[in-house]
């Protein structure tokens, strides 16, 4: 369980704009890596590179010790659960049908009993089984987020890539989602997530990768990366950090 992912000196351009500029990272099973940085720093792009959706111009991604782009897409899909920042919810799809699409890499023509069983188990894991027959349009933000995570779990992934899983959620759902992620991590999954809330990143992560302008500004343990100096340099916001509570507070009054 859990897959080792290594990223080595990845560079990626959107036309002439540098999106990623020499990114490297290491993460193994049972670890949570948070990718932080201001808007446009390249967090989502990095997740797409690790998912194999975008192929970097220079550099390499090693997935389980093998070069990512040499592994068949289907095999990567069977091992990676993806939670995008936003999903579209059109077409009156029921929650159960949506979670079932997570089984797509295993499905040849139509979902089998096993696929339905796995989808149901995934819904139960996130405490959303009671939503199974509702349509996606009828869900609240928190419910939708849980369902999207359930869909990623239905893949039976060894790696989870989450793009801002707690944004748009109220405090209770934020806590619930983070607890869920922590629980998945303790089962041995490799977890990489882009996240905005620094306090949350501080509390949940084993490693933090701080990006700025497509470059790695700092990387390492949360307490090494999240210092007032680093945060000021990257975000331009002065903060104080309460180490014993793991809380980061901006000092500027509004």
């Amino acid at each position: 369980m859990g897959i080792e992912i290594k990223v080595r000196n990845v560079k990626l351009y959107y036309k002439s704009i540098k999106a990623l500029d020499g990114i490297s990272l290491d993460i193994g099973g049972g670890e949570i890596l948070s990718v932080i940085g201001p808007n446009g720093a390249g967090k989502s792009t990095l997740l797409k590179v690790i998912n194999g959706i975008l192929r970097p111009k220079i550099g390499a991604v090693y997935f389980d010790g093998r070069l990512l782009h040499e592994i068949p897409q289907k095999e990567v899909a069977m091992k990676t659960g993806v939670v995008p920042q936003r999903i579209s919810s059109t077409g009156m799809l029921t929650v159960f049908d949506f979670v079932l699409t997570g089984r797509r890499p295993y499905i040849n023509f139509t979902p089998t009993k096993i696929d339905e069983e796995k989808a149901y188990e995934a819904l139960k894991t996130v405490n959303a089984a009671h939503l199974a027959n509702r349509t996606l349009e009828e869900l609240s933000g928190g419910e939708l987020q849980r369902v999207v995570i359930a869909r990623a779990l239905a893949v039976e992934p060894e790696v989870m890539l989450l793009d801002e899983p707690t944004s748009n959620l109220d405090l209770k759902y934020q806590q619930e989602t983070l607890n869920l992620i922590k629980a998945l991590c303790s089962k041995g999954l490799t977890i990489i997530m882009a996240i905005h809330d620094l306090t949350q990143a501080y509390r949940i992560s084993d490693k933090i990768l701080m990006l700025n302008d497509g470059k790695v500004f700092a990387a390492g343990k949360p307490e090494e990366v999240l210092t007032p100096q680093n945060i000021l340099a990257v975000y331009g916001v002065p903060t104080i950090i309460l180490k014993e509570h793991k809380i980061i507070i901006p000092t500027e009054r509004i």
Binding site: I53, P84, I87, G91, M92, F98, H130
Partner: protein, 353 residues
């Protein structure tokens, strides 16, 4: 545990609906054949259906009615399936071959084949295609042009759901204008009336050989493809990113789907003319019954398309008999108000521009 039962129950309900629709469809075929100006009992109809003889009833059934009922069955399924597939692959509830102008593009192709390549003629108010293949190939080529226009507008110009449909409708007017221009320039009464008659959308004009062609293409390519892609259409509804992460190329599915929908629409349009709105009405009606999962939605939608077209055609044949109202006129009368309704309700149907 009870939740599992609930899921199972809802699947049983959907399956049951599907079975009911299949039964209704199979009853509608002899019923539609039985109804019409020439009255006969259902038993007699069934007798000549299975044992054709030389009676006038047999001639009515085999030469006038059965062909158009079978055409309604197949073309209804193809149009409705195309509508459902395009709606999912472009995540646009207003999308359909008709609202995307594929039917009009195909009709221009038919006109070009008729007027310039002498692909057909009109005799005694009947349109004859000398070469049905030539006509359908032209219809297909012209609808491919429209497919390209649509995909460019959606993914290069980045138009949203409603803007895309409105611009496609505007473009359909261009096709119609070119059609009128051709009629105006050619100035051959017979050929012009051929084209005018042809745009009405009438199931009665399809010949047996044309019906075979439509049936083979639909049953071998169009319908199996749409059914095969059911799970991918579910996946596409969640967004391109999810599709890609599942190892599916959304661009490829969109291209294949629109091209195959264009093929189906072009075939249908070239032999029976423009039949509007079935491809939009049927998917929405089906979605209300079985929900959005394409495993059940796709076949339900196809059956709804067949049923709607068979009923409209039968009403068109009987309402002011012996005059026959072309089915295209019947479906547009019902379909146009529905399109306006969907545009007004746009937000509620879950599409967010």
């Amino acid at each position: 545990m009870w939740i599992k039962l609930l899921i199972k129950h809802s699947n049983y309900k959907k399956r049951l609906t599907l079975v009911c629709l299949i039964i209704i469809t199979f009853f509608l075929v002899p019923l539609s054949v039985a109804l019409g100006w020439y009255k006969a009992s259902l038993l007699d109809i069934l007798r000549v259906l299975f044992m054709p003889d030389n009676s006038p009833l047999s001639a009515v059934v085999w030469d006038l009615r059965l062909r158009r009922v079978l055409a309604a069955l197949i073309i209804g399924a193809v149009l409705a399936g195309s509508g459902t597939a395009i709606q999912a692959s472009l995540r646009n509830p207003l999308a359909s071959p008709f609202t995307f102008g594929l039917s009009f593009a195909a009709s221009l192709g038919v006109a070009v084949a008729l007027l310039f390549l002498q692909g057909g003629n009109i005799q005694r108010f009947q349109i004859y295609f000398y070469n049905p293949f030539l006509v359908s190939i032209f219809a297909f080529l012209f609808s491919l042009i429209q497919v390209m226009v649509i995909l460019l507008l959606a993914y290069k110009a980045g138009l949203g759901a409603r803007a895309l449909v409105l611009s496609a409708i505007a473009i359909s007017f261009v096709y119609q204008a070119i059609l009128y221009l051709l009629q105006y320039l050619v100035l051959n009464e017979i050929l012009t009336s051929t084209v005018v008659f042809w745009t009405f959308g009438d199931l009665g004009r399809i010949s047996w050989s044309e019906l075979y062609l439509v049936a083979v293409v639909s049953l071998a390519i169009v319908i199996p493809y749409f059914l095969y892609r059911s799970i991918d259409y579910d996946l596409m509804l969640g967004g391109d990113e999810l599709a890609k992460s599942a190892g599916i190329s959304p661009e490829r599915i969109r291209l294949e789907t629109t091209v195959i929908a264009a093929l189906g629409t072009a075939m249908a349009t070239s032999f029976v003319g423009i039949i509007g709105f079935v491809c939009l009405v049927a998917p929405h009606a089906a979605r209300l019954i079985v929900g959005g999962g394409h495993k059940y939605l796709m076949p339900t939608s196809m059956l709804m398309g067949s049923i709607i077209l068979m009923i409209s055609d039968t009403i068109g044949r009987t309402i002011i008999a012996p005059t026959i109202i072309p089915v295209g006129i019947m479906t547009s009368m019902v379909g146009a108000p529905l399109l306006v309704y969907l545009l007004i309700k746009g937000g509620k149907y879950g599409h967010r521009d």
